[in-house]
């Protein structure tokens, strides 16, 4: 490949990551604003929990009796599709459901933030690669690809990729625990599940994270070779 084509293709990849970065930041800020407004002011979802029920029983009878474990009162529920929206108007419940919403919003925004963190460092690495290709001659400037900063960035990216599915797993466990502790269904054979599913968790990210962590060794070797090459006269 000619040099200009190489640089152009790398720059276009970097522009792609720039677009993703800006989009994710917008997404996170909108999400944070909406969740703060929701919890603090508008109270749209205050006192409500969205759960799922098994599909087969839903077809037979359209109403599901759900009770709260705290005082055995019946909980208002609205069925829409496979989803069951529960309205916990009881005063015992209000504080608990706020905690539920808070933890939900917090973990979701943490996931988005981690992905922003990853894309940020990928952009920096791409920038250093582009700068390194531009320097054709053997100069004494710090080598832009094989340096300790890039090693640090690869390590951040790898660890963040491993953490993201763990956060989703925590959210799933928390929702399951919460729903099973405070709500139960009288009819047997039916169970309440949270909206987040076990299969929604992207476990593949762990492999990608490990891949990034192993690339670090290549860069270390590259640093050694680069230094030797630089000091060969």
């Amino acid at each position: 490949m000619k040099l200009t084509t190489k640089i152009l293709s790398l720059k276009s990849i970097k522009i792609g990551f720039d677009i993703v970065f800006v989009f994710l930041i917008l997404l996170l800020s909108v999400f944070l604003i909406l969740s703060i407004l929701d919890i603090g002011f508008f109270n749209i979802t205050k006192g409500q929990i969205a759960t799922e029920v098994n599909a087969e029983r839903l077809v037979e009878n359209n109403s599901v009796d759900i009770f709260s474990s705290i005082d055995k009162t019946k909980v208002d529920s609205k069925i829409s599709g496979y989803r069951l929206n529960l309205d916990l108007k009881d005063s015992n419940f209000k504080g608990i459901s706020i905690v539920y919403q808070l933890i939900n919003y917090f973990t979701l925004s943490l996931s988005i933030f981690l992905i922003i963190f990853i894309v940020f460092h990928i952009r920096k690495i791409l920038k250093s690669i582009i700068r390194g290709i531009n320097r054709n001659t053997n100069t004494e400037f710090k080598h832009c690809i094989f340096n300790n900063e890039n090693i640090r960035r690869f390590r951040y990216i790898g660890i963040s990729f491993i953490i993201v599915p763990l956060i989703d797993l925590f959210l799933y466990k928390f929702q399951t625990y919460f729903i099973s502790k405070y709500l139960f269904v009288k009819e047997s054979g039916m169970e309440l599940k949270p909206i987040a599913e076990y299969s929604d968790i992207s476990w593949d990210y762990i492999y990608i994270g490990l891949l990034f962590l192993s690339i670090i060794e290549i860069i270390r070797k590259g640093m050694v070779i680069q230094e030797e090459n630089d000091l060969t006269v």
Binding site: N138, T139, E140, E227, E228, L231, T232, V233
Partner: protein
């Protein structure tokens, strides 16, 4: 390193400055100063040949092996 570069001695003898020598052996002044100050880790034969041709000397006039530094550097590595 146990190999000592006596380039400045030879340059003084032949009265050639750093920039001029760099130009004549086809090296950058930066690279030549790396060699002169002893920071270089390796030298190509082509470079050594060019330097000896310009300074009209033998490699032994420029490179010298000092055994007394040898033991320390091996233990440290």
């Amino acid at each position: 390193m146990a190999i000592i570069v006596n380039l400045d001695v030879m340059m003084a003898k032949r009265k050639i400055g750093l920039g001029e020598l760099a130009q004549r052996v086809d090296l950058t002044p930066a690279n030549l100063s790396i060699l002169k100050t002893g920071k270089a880790k390796a030298i190509r034969f082509s470079t050594l040949e060019a330097i000896c041709k310009v300074l009209e000397c033998q490699p032994g006039d420029i490179l010298e092996f000092d055994n007394s530094i040898n033991n320390n550097s091996i233990n440290n590595k």
